[in-house]
């Protein structure tokens, strides 16, 4: 029970507070703007020209006025904004009228979630193993060179890496498709052909995210291992003739990995923004690509929907990973 009170409850309160803060910021941004967002969106639409279904326009203006209009008091607007979030009703999308915004997000979300989690876990695992090795075997020549290479990769943003991979793979090694989520014309189904196509298309986006994620983990892990391996119990283990491999995997890694698990949760939020742009670079059919199309078409309903849902989704993802933490650290359970 103490575990629940000391760990679970404060963490849940923090979760709710963060979402409240995020949603409030999103609510106030259009209202603090010097220009009227509704007029701004409509004028942008008219400037684009082209044919717009009058019914679509009417409906959009209605939802826009309702969401951002200043007819009611601010407090009432705020309450109805939250109401929209709970009913998942963000109005219809404009450029794909009359599909509801939420339906568009729901089809795009699995693509992003898959990309994000696979690259997060892969990068985390690879980075931790390699970082652990370089931290523990400090004398190794090869690992030192490797460490230098990591230094060069580490500061590059995800989407720049994506562009670099495109330049590289489009010219020198044209074996992977550089755009899309699956071969055009394939039906979405659980067949070998479709899954294979998805994997092939996901390879480059995945590679760019995983590489950088692994480089980041590598560096933190190397430093963590370096501090652990100098501790007394490691010296005793060595004197006590415990096998080197056992020391490395059971004693050093097990202790150094704990901060990395907390880091895993934090990096989910950090990687998210970068992953969105990476999706745009590869025209990968996830949330990022959807957001791009929404911005290009001035679809404000869709932009708001994606922003609010992403804030909730990221906070929830971090919460879930945080709750897994006690499984790995017995000290938290005992506290």
């Amino acid at each position: 029970m103490r575990f629940v009170r000391r760990y679970l409850v404060p963490r849940l309160i923090q979760y709710v507070l963060v979402i409240c803060l995020g949603i409030t910021v999103v609510f106030f941004i259009p209202r603090l703007m010097p220009t009227d967002p509704v007029e701004r969106v409509i004028s942008a639409l008219e400037a684009q020209g082209g044919y717009l279904d009058p019914a679509a326009l009417e409906e959009t203006i209605l939802t826009l006025r309702e969401t951002y209009g200043l007819e009611e008091g601010l407090f009432k607007q705020y309450i109805s904004f939250w109401g929209r979030l709970f009913t998942l009703d963000f109005g219809p999308s404009l450029f794909m009228f009359p599909v509801p915004v939420f339906d568009l997000i729901r089809t795009a979300l699995p693509w992003t979630a898959g990309l994000l989690f696979v690259s997060l876990l892969l990068g985390w695992t690879i980075g931790n193993i390699l970082g652990g090795l370089t931290g523990y075997f400090r004398q190794s020549r090869i690992l030192k060179i490797f460490d230098g290479m990591v230094m060069l990769v580490r500061p590059i943003p995800y989407y720049i890496m994506a562009l670099l991979l495109i330049i590289f793979f489009a010219y020198l090694l044209p074996i992977f498709p550089i755009g899309g989520g699956y071969t055009v014309g394939y039906k979405i189904a659980f067949t070998w052909r479709f899954v294979g196509s998805v994997l092939k298309h996901a390879f480059l986006p995945l590679l760019s995210l995983t590489l950088l994620n692994a480089a980041f983990r590598h560096q933190t892990m190397r430093l963590l291992v370096q501090t652990v391996r100098d501790e007394d119990f490691i010296h005793y283990a060595k004197i006590g003739n415990v096998k080197e491999r056992t020391i490395f995997s059971r004693y050093v890694l097990r202790n150094a990995i704990l901060p990395q698990i907390t880091g895993l949760a934090m990096s989910l939020g950090m990687i998210f923004g970068g992953a969105l742009i990476t999706e745009i670079v590869f025209s990968y059919p996830g949330i990022g690509h959807l957001l791009y199309r929404a911005i290009v078409n001035g679809d404000f309903n869709l932009i708001m929907g994606i922003t609010t849902i992403s804030i909730v989704a990221i906070a929830t993802g971090i919460l879930v990973i945080d709750f897994l933490y006690p499984l790995f650290d017995p000290r938290i359970r005992l506290k």
Partner: protein, 286 residues
């Protein structure tokens, strides 16, 4: 002379040395803009789509611009943007960190709640929301915007530093001898904070340059001003890769990676020189 000595000591570190040389190269490139034979905003000043040659070191683009000269302007503007935004961000970070750390209590909790929020909320989305509403972001408003939201991490670190300083002996002595708070903060605390500010300054620069590229790529910044992001955006929207004009895209991508690596190496060198224990925080910073 003290500066020179510090610099010499810093250069003994191989990472810092390499980074400094790279930054020097970049500085020369930005200074070259003064001698540019072409106006970077003009289109169709040279022949289209030429591959790299002696006449055009990095070829020409489909817009009829010399890629090399345009790149120097882009680099200059992006670096200026990063410097400006990072200064704003540091000013806010120091203020928030000082106030939160020194006053404690409710003020501290409120300020830290906001900075935690900034760390967890996907910032890119918030920036996009703002950018969509103000039409195309000019360089100045972009700097202001990025500066005002990137202080959270640094503010946290400064606050925790102040928290430990406040419990030190000399603080009590100062308070008992009625030293004004302002004097205590500026004369006694600042020397401890400056290293934190410096190492964070460069990582914020990296973040700002990256953010500019991201926003330009989505088309939310003013693309008529040559920046690294605008250049990448033009190249990709003219399908430079599909048409085989790889130099057009490779030049801005290459130079921005060069910039990121140079800044990163220098920041690593500085923080290791200032405080070997800062290594842990360094890798954790954005």
């Amino acid at each position: 002379m003290k500066i020179l000595k510090t610099l010499r000591e810093l250069c003994r570190d191989r990472q810092f040395g390499l980074g400094a040389v790279m930054l020097l190269v970049l500085a020369v490139l930005t200074l070259l803009t003064l001698f540019s034979p072409y106006d970077p905003t003009e289109w169709r000043v040279v022949a289209h789509d030429l591959p790299p040659s002696w006449g055009h070191l990095l070829g020409t683009s489909s817009l009829g611009q010399d890629v090399f000269w345009r790149m120097t302007f882009a680099l200059r503007n992006s670096v200026a943007l990063a410097l400006f935004a990072s200064v704003i961000s540091r000013v806010i970070a120091v203020t928030v960190g000082l106030v939160a750390g020194y006053s404690g209590g409710v003020v501290d909790r409120v300020l830290m709640f906001f900075s935690d929020g900034l760390l967890v909320i996907p910032l890119l989305l918030i920036i996009m929301l703002l950018a969509v509403l103000v039409e195309r972001l000019s360089l100045t408003s972009l700097a202001l915007l990025l500066g005002t939201i990137s202080w959270a991490w640094a503010a946290r670190r400064i606050r925790s530093q102040i928290l430990t300083l406040r419990e030190r002996e000399f603080t009590y002595t100062a308070i008992l001898s009625r030293t004004p708070t302002r004097k205590l903060i500026f004369n006694e605390y600042f020397p401890f904070i400056i290293p934190l500010v410096l190492s964070g300054f460069i990582s914020t620069m990296i973040w700002v340059v990256g953010m500019e590229i991201a926003l330009a790529f989505i088309g939310l910044t003013d693309l008529s001003i040559p920046t690294l992001g605008a250049m990448i955006k033009w190249a990709t929207s003219y399908q430079a890769m599909l048409l085989g004009y790889w130099w057009w895209l490779a030049a801005p991508v290459g130079i921005s990676i060069f910039l990121f690596v140079a800044l990163y190496l220098v920041s690593v060198g500085i923080s290791e020189y200032l405080d070997p224990r800062a290594r842990m925080q360094r890798v954790g910073a954005k």
